[in-house]
Amino acid sequence: MDLAPAAFPVAERNAVVIESAPVGRRYHRLRLDAPDLSALSRPGQFFHLLCRDGAGSGPYLRRPMSIWRCGADEPLGFLFHVKGRGTAALAALRAGDRLSVVGPLGQGFTLHPSWRRILILARGVGLATLAPLTEAAARMGIAVEAVLSARDPADLMAEEFAGHSGAHVFPVLDADGSSDPLAVEALLRARFEAARPDAVFTCGSNRLLLLLQRLSAEYAIPGQVALEQQMGCGLGMCFCCVRPIRAPDGGTVNLRVCAEGPVFDLQAALGW
């Protein structure tokens, strides 16, 4: 379906909910009918969602949510941890309800055509942010290995992550200690040695960010990280979503997660 480029790159749209369903015990997924926006969306970008349930009740400000599924022939999908009032209102939406979205927003991940193999390291619902990257890599013939860290098997959502990307998933769980930093470091070293990735990506855990920064520096592998921060406008206007990011001159500069981010160079991000 060939869409004329939207007059404006960012839309404020009341999209119809196609599917609203729980995932495991703590998560929920939504699929929306917005073909033009889904086609425009890039992995790592996000939408700013107005969390009002069917009857208009919910918190005042919008909530940022990574794009979990997108593409010309794919409904716009979000996968989220039901945490507070906003995500609860989203989880209360039923098919047929409308959800106000603003987006696609922010700078997504970058994949170089020359890359043949990438490694993904995600914790918890961070995998939602990295899922569309896996699909995109598969379409470019790039092999994907993914270390997914979660509390227990129920929380793993490997299927929600990999979809039909064919990514090779290495689950690590708190339940059996395999998600312990030392164990994860050993696994990463083994993968770096056995099938050296051209680039690494992470989202969702400060500890894993610091670990991946150290290892990828040691192995001189470039990387990217998707960060999170509380947001007001989501469009780069209010300066409430800044994070200190390492500047080329060695100092740090406050950059907007919603505008310069959410994806930053792995080595430039500072732990939070």
């Binding site: 404006f8 005042y60 400000l61 007001g232 406008c233 209010c238 300066f239 406050n254």
Partner: protein, 308 residues
């Protein structure tokens, strides 16, 4: 067809709707054509670069938000060199919001802006802390408010809009004082000081402690401040505070505002300003007003409802 043209002193706007400083940027051009706005109002610029306040800088309350951004920015030199050229891509009058710590700094910056082509007016953010009055805002007292405006007036030919603070005890006195000091219009009002505490950590939710309260919950207070100023001065008023719909905008105009600014509402609906412009046109059509300017001051004591 309804005429939405709006005169604020020497400046004419296509309609009375503009953004509120600090809640708007060229990034909104990704969503709609900014040329449809009455005017463009920049984030407050300060003479020197500022890092801004510690995080978190924003939190939600009941029907509103608290913010303590701390006016981060790259300073006046960078603003004139890089930001002004970007703003010149757009047609509506450009209103530059200026914050400074002393009267002299206000005057110096205003003078430099007056020599910069493409600026229609300066919105003097005198609601920010006055470093020579132990951090109390200029706009807290008639004398300090007037002193800042007078200092700018002497060095700057551009129209000066004085943006007042709700934290004063007598906004009418401050309004009269800035009028006498040469302000061309008054923007009423900046955020009112508020606080929220996270009872699990027993710490304020904002990194800086207190913050500015804005959004729908603030509207009844901002509307009252506009009403009080309208009965104290003759220069035009620009009402701001919790406006999200055309009905809100009409309320402020009937209370005496010539134009309105929309801030926090754009976070909830980036197209809020467009909806207000459309809604204002519909209201005037329905109620038989040929000029939206005729709404200004209708609810003030002693003014019959002309259109009835």
């Amino acid at each position: 067809m309804v005429d939405l043209a709006t005169r604020i002193g020497a400046i004419t706007l296509a309609n009375p709707v503009m953004p509120a400083s600090g809640t708007f940027g060229p990034e909104l051009a990704q969503v709609f054509d900014l040329d449809a706005l009455g005017a463009l109002v920049t984030k407050s610029v300060t003479p020197e670069p500022r890092a801004g306040n510690p995080l978190p800088r924003l939190c939600e309350t009941e029907a509103g938000i608290l913010n303590s951004i701390g006016i981060p920015g790259k300073g006046l030199d960078h603003f004139i060199a890089h930001a002004i050229p970007e703003w010149r891509r757009f047609r509506p009058p450009l209103i530059v919001s200026l914050s400074a710590g002393t009267n002299a700094a206000f005057a110096e910056a205003a003078a430099r802006l007056a020599e910069t082509p493409g600026i229609a007016a300066i919105e003097a953010n005198i609601s920010c802390p006055n470093l020579e009055e132990d951090g109390r805002a200029f706009a807290m007292f008639p004398e300090s408010a007037a002193a800042a405006i007078a200092a700018m007036r002497a060095r700057c030919a551009l129209p000066i809009w004085a943006k007042l603070s709700p934290n004063t005890g007598d906004i009418a006195a401050v309004a009269r004082a800035v009028e006498e000091a040469g302000a061309d219009a008054i923007v009423v009002a900046n955020t009112i000081l508020g606080l929220a505490i996270d009872i699990e950590t027993a710490r304020p939710r904002l990194g800086a402690g207190m913050g500015g309260f804005s959004g729908p919950a603030f509207k009844p207070i901002a509307l009252r401040l506009t009403w009080q100023c309208a009965q104290a001065v003759r220069i035009p008023l620009i009402g701001v505070g919790g406006i999200a719909t055309a009905e809100d905008a009409v309320e402020f105009m009937m209370a005496g505002a010539t134009a309105v600014q929309i801030g926090t509402a754009s976070f909830v609906s980036p197209t809020a300003m467009m909806q207000v412009i459309e809604g204002l046109r519909d209201f005037c059509t329905r109620r038989g007003f040929t000029r939206s300017a005729d709404l200004t001051g209708l609810a003030l004591p002693g003014r019959r409802l002309a259109a009835e």
